[in-house]
């Protein structure tokens, strides 16, 4: 059965995101403890639990509506830098998909690019600054490449994005942070993985799970 990016997929994705944040809460706290302030896992878990609670209250009608609800919830519940950054990402993605009932693979690749652009606009980080942008940018490129193929299917776009984000997160290890709280450490930030890049990879991996 071909997977379609509709509201059911979106709700399943968000549910899996919440699961992933709960499961990896301690890991994200530990990564953040090394180069930040130990709050990323706690904040992401709290934010996505709030998204789950919203989904219990009312089922959104379109993928765009679900993404917008997620944006507003993360912005008001996560705090730190991650709240406004992920909030902006989901809001830009929601705007990109509009009120379509089903989102084509190529359109989803564009939505991911819009999300990344939103994060860059808000956080002013560039690739190589050791931030979540280092997971988003390769993911956006890989998704676009997969979507540009002859007959793109959704799953291959989602897998391409997840794999590239995971590789991008690993590639933050040797980088010296230039944005966010890790930047205060200067060279001492090298040798640690960026927690925001890891949470980005978890979110994009959950998208694959929702299509399985």
């Amino acid at each position: 059965m071909t997977v379609v990016l509709d509201v059911n997929w979106t709700v399943k994705w968000l549910t899996l995101c919440a699961q992933a944040m709960a499961e990896h809460r301690i890991e994200l706290i530990e990564l953040d403890r090394a180069i930040g302030d130990s709050d990323h896992g706690e904040n992401m878990d709290r934010g996505f639990q709030a998204v789950l609670a919203k989904l219990d209250e009312a089922t959104p009608e379109t993928p765009g509506a679900a993404l917008k609800m997620t944006a507003m919830t993360l912005m008001s519940k996560v705090g730190g830098a991650a709240g406004p950054l992920y909030g902006t990402a989901f809001l830009r993605a929601a705007t990109a998909v509009g009120d379509a009932a089903e989102v084509e693979p190529a359109a989803w690749a564009l939505a991911l690019a819009a999300a990344r652009d939103g994060i860059v606009a808000r956080g002013k980080a560039e690739p190589g600054d050791k931030t979540m942008v280092d997971a988003w940018t390769p993911a956006v490129d890989a998704a676009r490449e997969a979507a540009d193929g002859g007959s793109p299917d959704l799953l291959s776009v989602l897998v391409a994005a997840a794999e590239a984000a995971e590789a991008g997160a690993v590639a933050t290890d040797p980088l010296i942070a230039r944005k966010g709280r890790a930047s205060y450490l200067g060279e001492r930030s090298a040798g640690h993985r960026d927690p925001g890049a890891v949470s980005t990879a978890l979110i994009l991996r959950a998208a694959v799970g929702a299509a399985a």
Partner: protein
Amino acid sequence: MKKLINDPKSVVHESVQGFGLAHAGLVTVSEDPIYITRKDAPVAGKVGLVSGGGSGHEPLHAGYVGKGMLDAAVPGAVFTSPTPDQILPATLAANAGAGVVHIVKNYTGDVLNFETAAELAEAEGVNVRTVLVNDDVAVEDSLYTAGRRGVGGTVLVEKIAGAAAERGDGLEAVVAIGERVNANVRTMGVALTACTVPHAGTPSFDLDENEIEIGIGIHGEPGRHRIPMENADGITDRLLEPVLADLKITAGDRVLLFVNGMGGTPLSELYIVYRRAVQVLADAGATVDRSLVGNYITSLEMQGCSISVLRLDDELTALWDAPVHTAALRWGM
């Protein structure tokens, strides 16, 4: 981890409840969303002052709500900036029509969340200006970092800008005073131990028994470098040297000297540091005209201190001396 808490998830909520009960004559506490306002807010004709940031720095910021200082404070989760859904109602509650100044410590999260809240407040017709505090000389290379952090100087900005608002200065004038304080204050901190965030359960960084961390911020984040333990005078010299250099302190300057405890250092030790700092300033030809010593912007139970030096002029001195009545600072009334 041993802490006087019930549940790591309810630390901020229960602490703010207690604060409201203890200072019921001074403040009103909103619990959902969490923010604290001055009892008589909004004060007719007065510019409103709102600050906020992660919890764990008490008495910052709620302890500075009251006459002559802040109109509202917005605490986030421990070491996490508050969210726009808290900052917006606090801003509206502080607004008497003369506009509101957000005093924001320069951290990525605080800046982004206050920026969003300011946009929302503007959309509701409130004039919002922001004073960004970035007094931490530990962060050397601003181009390749998120910029200097707001630390000890924040308390001085809140007191002096608060006094300016209280005497009836307009929106732009209060902003100008706040920026003048920020431009004339520098701070450097040291940690002897790390601190433990309640929900994390383990110390925020690992420090050996005989090591200290120079150039720490206030969120348990590690500092610039780590050196072997020294005596109080040695550490004081080490902290003060970059502060005086960056501030370009010269003979004849009058200053306010602020020795701040990070939460776990006894006042007796802070006074040992203060004593040495006065000597060093005297050697540089500067006069200490005003002082503040104590735990005013903390990092949970961290041992350590920060030293802030503010270059004074007659107006800033008068505003510092102006009456203030908050939970953590009170004089002149």
